[in-house]
Symmetry: D2
Subunit: 182 residues, 4 copies
């Protein structure tokens, strides 16, 4: 199962990077083939956000090959970062019939749960399957040490149902896609 | 595939009943085993909305047996009808790993699309898979004749990708549930 | 300023009752004229949810007279309780040009923030002004003692910007309604 | 009343430009002091989306001076364009206590109503007042002639309650801001 981890913010000083690296490392340990897709590497000139743009072409190979996705993203003003939305909007049919797991990050106590709801609505339109399980990183500034290691060890348990449900859907949908040519 | 059609409003004079009966009849022609579940038959005294209530028990048999769901519902003030939400909240694990297709109804021109978005967020929490395809019945007062027959024949084509996608997910998830005991 | 506090769940054993009573008492101390409106007292037979129903008539006097509203409600499956939505849908123009403050309650760690987002969408359609400030009661089962007194004293500070912003909007909109006959 | 019109997409071939120009021209006729703010002129390098960035500084003068806002934006995959969100996220307190009217644009029949719902959630967090009235431009490719003139004359009536409500809120909130120093 190839399940890339998408880091959804490009801001300087982004705290979500720690969360994304943690999820990426644990996803690999769980058994997923994975890599980190950083929105910084997919800057979109807004006037060229089509599936034919060079950025879209670069992204297309990974998204097409994926069996599912993890997005790790902060919540900005109750929504998703604009740079994440610009990247997602580049492609369409490449996402179809693949599950999406969301990890929310916030400086405040909510953990990005509202961003997750808005992103799930977008995911459904992209024919993805947004899964119920999610991992939240509230008050993220307190969660990682200076080396980027997670301090709250409870997360090692908390991520298990998230990875497990994502794997279940990734497998179920892969079998179905392959047997029906969708 | 047993795919019941849930009529989501209990109001007097509800226009969604025509839409629900149309969808129910077409679902049967498409090949689904189906029946109409009317929220009027699942009135919930608000103080007894638990999975142990008689209403929940009555609903449980159908929801447990289902391979997927269609909800036909109006949009009230940009959200879902309260009686629909009370009924859905009665159960939980019985919905899991089954697809949900939504048909929106409205007196205005939007067709219930905002209700669909809110309902999809609820569906994800119930471990359902809200599918992308949807059928909208805007300006519903003009869509059916006095016998309740649909006047706009384009709907016969419009429902095909909706039923087809729902069937695809129902089958994919049933196979996966049965092989993994979820 | 008459600002009633609406308790949005009717369930047996509802934990939101403690939160609503706390908010109601503090609202009175803050200087609002207030009372508790309990959805249990506004049971709606789903087939009679019109503005002419006895329940609507009973509610109408309070809603018409109000200068703003506070809703204290749990989040059920990422949405609002059905009984709350049924009650809100009874009326329409009586809400117009008045602010709404939302207090969210949950057994889990999110505190009802997703319910608040869905409810704000409904509020906008009802011509209300949903204010930014909110108060959340996550893990509510730990927040009150057996007499219903709040244990976490930080809430006494936390509610101040909430009441203050609500009062600001209530006053601004009252002045404007009265000078323009809206 | 200074009410700028924000065009929310930067894509090549954007159909929303016609809608934004129409709304801008009519807003001026209605009596608003207005101008068109084009997201193309506020390109944000994602790593510099802070209130201290040059782009933010350039935007700040207009947003600070405004008495309210109109956003004309397409719906992309049920959400708002990323470039619009990046621009909005640049500032914060400059939006506070000012109304926002939304015009939705779509190639399909829904007219951007789902984008409007997501954007209203963001607006509330920015302390704006998202108004109920909205104008939708569904099937936008059919609505304007080759010179960009609107073909459906019904829009001249349709925009009146939108401008009128926006003006009412702009005035009410301006009076309140000035008398309370918010």
């Amino acid at each position: 199962m190839y399940i890339p981890v998408i880091l959804g913010t490009a801001r300087e000083g982004r705290q979500s990077e720690n969360a994304a690296k943690f999820i990426h490392a644990e996803a690999a340990k769980f058994g997923f083939q994975t890599e980190l897709i950083d929105v910084r590497d997919y800057r979109i000139p807004a006037t060229d956000n089509t599936q034919q743009s060079p950025t879209a072409k670069k992204l297309e190979e990974k998204i097409s090959r994926a069996d599912g996705f993890i997005i790790v993203s902060p919540e900005y003003n109750h929504g998703y970062p604009g740079e994440l939305k610009m990247m997602l909007d580049l492609l369409y049919q490449q996402y179809a019939y693949k599950p999406l797991g969301i990890c929310g990050v916030s400086g405040g106590p909510i953990g990005g749960a509202r961003m997750a709801e808005q992103l799930r609505e977008v995911a459904v339109e992209l024919h993805m399957v947004p899964i119920r399980e999610a991992v939240y990183f509230p008050l993220v500034q307190n969660l990682f040490d200076e080396k980027g290691n997670i301090k709250d060890k409870a997360y090692y348990e908390r991520i298990k149902p998230f990875f497990s449900e994502l794997e279940w859907y990734a497998r179920a949908l892969k079998v179905a896609r392959e047997s029906t040519k969708r």
